[in-house]
Symmetry: C2
Subunit: 574 residues, 2 copies
């Protein structure tokens, strides 16, 4: 509404535009983009952009933003309502809508991915499709999912506002066919490293996740990645899967599938508190699996760490930490030691770091901490060595290695060059009193050593923690960057660095993902990169293409103008 002062009188003029674009279905993301574009145009006071569903029409009528008769608009019709300052602005608005839609059409035409407008066509393009992402509006989602299951295709059902009855029916059908339905309202999954829906770019690895919770899966994936672990699959269930009515139908399938998956060594189960009877059933199942399971049931504060192969975590971050401890580092980003490389060489300038490392390594590998501490050795067993170079044996008449880190360089070079070495662990201590730039002393030695090992056909990992802050004279981030550029893996604490070293030692080569067809469609799904039909939000396809997945885009729009009765009739006729 524009306020136009004319002399002493004030006149208010409301110029309301209603624009209906018939048969012009736009997903929620494009609606938002169009809305943002129009809202910032000159002379536009208020604007609403939506599809002509019955619910939207009801809302609009209540808001009083509507001129003209909307009864004829269908769920496939695009509706724009605006309050503009004058008719020029209104005409500009109409032109802006047309421009947006034509640009959108051009943009679609330039992607290389095949785009179809029916499931049948999608299946002629990608005959061996075994997974579909469904993100159509909730009222149409169950029917689309059912059609996909009928064709033997696993479903990632992103759509929300699907009834619990539909969810149960879909999941029972899936179970009977040996297929998986992730969702409805499933925000996140990752299958063989291919992100589905909302998902983060994390390292491939050996931790399998099952979650009735989208951001719960994302947080555990991210935290696992930060701890240098990796993810085999993240299977979303939808938020209601562990409720009493649904009874953990998908959870049961997912846990069994990950237990059978040769690429998964540990499983994390993430959920808001499940229904008690479902909780008991799922945890009984977990306790019977062959692999360790970390259960993060948010809202339950674990009294005990768990029994047998099941451990409880109080937070998502804890769940990730325990999983990485159990599964080890298996990420493809992490170097795999060769068969002869079975030792950790830990060379410390700080005595307590050395003591902490010796204690963690001794406990993990079942060896003894040195009691004599001869020559600063805090541990010396099976080729593993933890040395405190600040020990009196090294500092008599010489500066402490925290003041002069160069006294460690020869030993670092020798440790990297030792053909038995898998991992070298170091500390870099910043702060007052310490060397003004310890990374500059250490980095060239590490870089040269790693290059030499690489030339000799060995992958050696050098892992360090930097004890310091941004306000220390040496500046934490500056030192960290210099070390990383030399090839050092920098961990956030000494204990994290040692645990990382231990996990590298325990790293086994990733098994090939081969599963016989006899194992069923879910095992097949987890054994090789999925072939995907993306039904709905085109943005989800971008991530698939980026990950070189086989994908066909099914540009869905409501059939029969969104008329439910007619749709049911068409469904019945198919």
């Amino acid at each position: 509404m524009a306020r136009r002062p004319t002399g002493g009188t004030e006149v208010f003029v409301a110029v309301l535009y209603s624009i209906i674009k018939p048969n012009n279905y736009q997903d929620s993301l494009r609606l938002m983009r169009l809305s943002n574009t129009l809202a910032t145009a000159d002379g536009v006071d208020r604007v609403s952009v939506m599809m002509g569903t019955q619910m939207n029409k009801d809302i609009l009528r209540d808001a009083g933003l509507v001129t003209g008769d909307l009864d004829g608009a269908t769920a496939a019709d695009l509706m724009i309502f605006a309050d503009v300052t004058n008719e020029d602005a209104g005409r500009a608005l109409v032109a802006a809508v047309d421009l947006f839609l034509s640009q959108q059409a051009q943009r679609s035409a330039t992607t290389k991915m095949p785009v179809v407008r029916s499931l049948e066509h999608a299946l002629t393009v990608l005959g061996d499709a075994n997974l579909a992402i469904v993100s159509v509006p909730g009222e149409y989602a169950a029917a689309e999912a059912r059609r996909l299951l009928d064709r033997g295709i696993n479903v990632f059902l992103f759509s929300d506002n699907v009834s619990v009855e539909d969810e149960i029916a879909l999941k029972e059908q899936a179970r009977d066919q040996g297929l998986l339905v992730m969702g409805p309202d499933c925000g996140t999954a990752s299958i063989c490293g291919i992100p589905l829906g909302f998902a983060n770019a994390v390292a491939d690895g050996n931790i399998g996740l099952v979650g009735a919770s989208g951001t719960g899966l994302q947080e555990v994936m991210v935290q696992v990645d930060r701890l240098r672990g990796g993810v085999s699959h993240a299977i979303g269930l939808g938020g209601r899967d562990l409720s009493a009515p649904v009874g953990g139908l998908a959870c049961t399938q997912a846990l069994r599938a990950l237990d059978a998956d040769p690429g998964t060594d540990a499983i994390v189960l993430i959920s808001k508190p499940p229904a008690p009877e479902v909780r008991a059933r799922v945890l009984d199942l977990a306790a019977g699996l062959s692999k360790p399971v970390v259960a993060a049931l948010l809202g339950e504060r674990p009294e005990r760490p768990g029994t047998g192969n099941v451990r409880y975590a109080g937070t998502l971050e804890d769940a990730a930490r325990v999983a990485v401890e159990l599964a080890g580092t298996h990420s493809r980003r992490v170097a795999a030691p060769g068969p002869g490389q079975h030792c950790i060489k830990a060379l410390y300038t700080g005595g307590t770091f050395a003591a902490e490392a010796a204690s963690l390594i001794a406990e993990s590998l079942g060896v003894d901490v040195s009691s004599a501490h001869d020559d600063g050795y805090l541990l010396r067993a099976d080729g593993h060595e933890v040395i405190d170079l600040g020990d009196d044996a090294y500092t008599r008449g010489r500066p402490h290695p925290m003041i002069d880190p160069s006294v460690r360089n020869d030993r670092v070079a020798a440790a990297i060059a030792d053909p038995q070495t898998a991992v070298v662990v170091l500390d870099v201590v910043l702060g007052y009193g310490s060397h003004p730039d310890p990374a500059s002393v250490l980095a060239p030695t590490v870089a040269k050593g790693l290059a030499g090992a690489h030339d000799a056909g060995r992958d050696v990992t050098v892992v360090a923690s930097v004890c310091g802050t941004e306000r220390d004279p040496q500046v934490l981030s500056v030192q960290t960057l210099a070390l990383e550029q030399a090839g050092v893996v920098v961990m956030p604490s000494n204990s994290a660095a040692v645990r990382h070293a231990l996990s590298i030692l325990n790293r086994r080569p990733a098994p090939a993902r081969v599963t016989s067809a006899a194992a069923g469609p879910i095992a097949q799904l987890l054994s090789q990169r999925p072939r995907i039909i993306n039904v709905g939000l085109r943005e989800f396809a971008d991530a698939l293409i980026e990950h070189d997945a086989s994908v066909v885009q099914y540009d869905w729009s409501p059939v029969a103008g969104g008329d439910k009765r007619l749709q049911r009739l068409l469904d019945a006729l198919r």
Copy 2:
């Protein structure tokens, strides 16, 4: 040794230089600098630089690097031994030594700090000195420390190679006088935020540390700082304090002093495994203190989390985490909520983050999690709110807030503007599917809101976690930086963000550090910025000056040319 081919014959010529600079004491750091300078000079093959102590003379003789008679050299004489290619190189070496020493003398003359050459002179300059840093060679350290104790001065004894008998004698004398001896071989301490020895620049706060371990103290200080906690004092003990012979003499004093210190709310005790009888005595004492104690006894794997006010931590990082949980955020960097600001407003785009927050807040504050989840509220009690903005109630007909974070902006602005709000907690979810730049949407709203609250005289904290990786399309570090620049405190996980919010809520104003003289010299030491005599390594004074401490530099050199018998005689005469 130079190899000089002359025709068909090969002739090897060794040109060895020995340079003695009488009465020219240099500390270990300067010896290293001189050594580095000479080692890179042209024509120098090998070089050794050291003081003329008996031990060094023995080592040199064994190494065969010596020409000439060393018997006359004393501990106050500088000795340089070099293997050079020819006599020109040798002459250049002599000149280089002279140049270094004259530059060193000039450099000393330019610092503003008062520099003296005797303890008596130091005390005329800084009559109320109550702390000394002693970093003279070990063989002279006990005598210096004793002289300081005799004058009622607490001692931070950095020197190593001090006998255990001397340690016990010093600590018993200190105990009887109510003074503290930190060390010998004490690498690290921090008293009232003043770093002593090797120490990091961390936030001032309410966690007091006691450690028989230098880098152990450093790691806990650094990890406390990373978790946004702060340190009141870090009291080093020296690595042998908890051994059977020393019996925890300094540890006992330090624990009692921190328990009495009004600026300390929780205590962390760090040690390699103590002698069993000392362990029992110290933990009995800890159990009787009025404040919580976190014991990180490295090498002991805690079976139980502890009893009463004593909790056990398995690693240094764990110790820091537990301490921050117990003590809360008390760092001066963190805003203190005003008396009317008593609420946490948590506004989430991710449902599981909201559930995790509701669970942690409910447990900590003893309120109930909402069971109805009306309008996405997962918790609503005493003004605290946890809302899941991805709830169906908010997404019908609209994009999910992870796709369009702007739908949260109005609520963020309202939450910051609410005079009851102490902390606003947010999630920012990166990854495929999410908004391409969520920080750009959120940051202006936060910056504007915080400015408004500040104008209204309120300090509101906005804390967030960013769920994402560096390889996500939005890039973790880019998003983090944009949020931090807008004034958001970014924590490494959602649970860390919620715990930080809870600790701000529990934050009390820091008490003034005032302790009556009647409480004794250690209480005095912890109650106000110490006045310090720095005996030895001048580099330690740099950090003191940077922290505006009152300091006098005592440029120590061995009296009587390092003759021990003569020194004892002089000691006796004083």
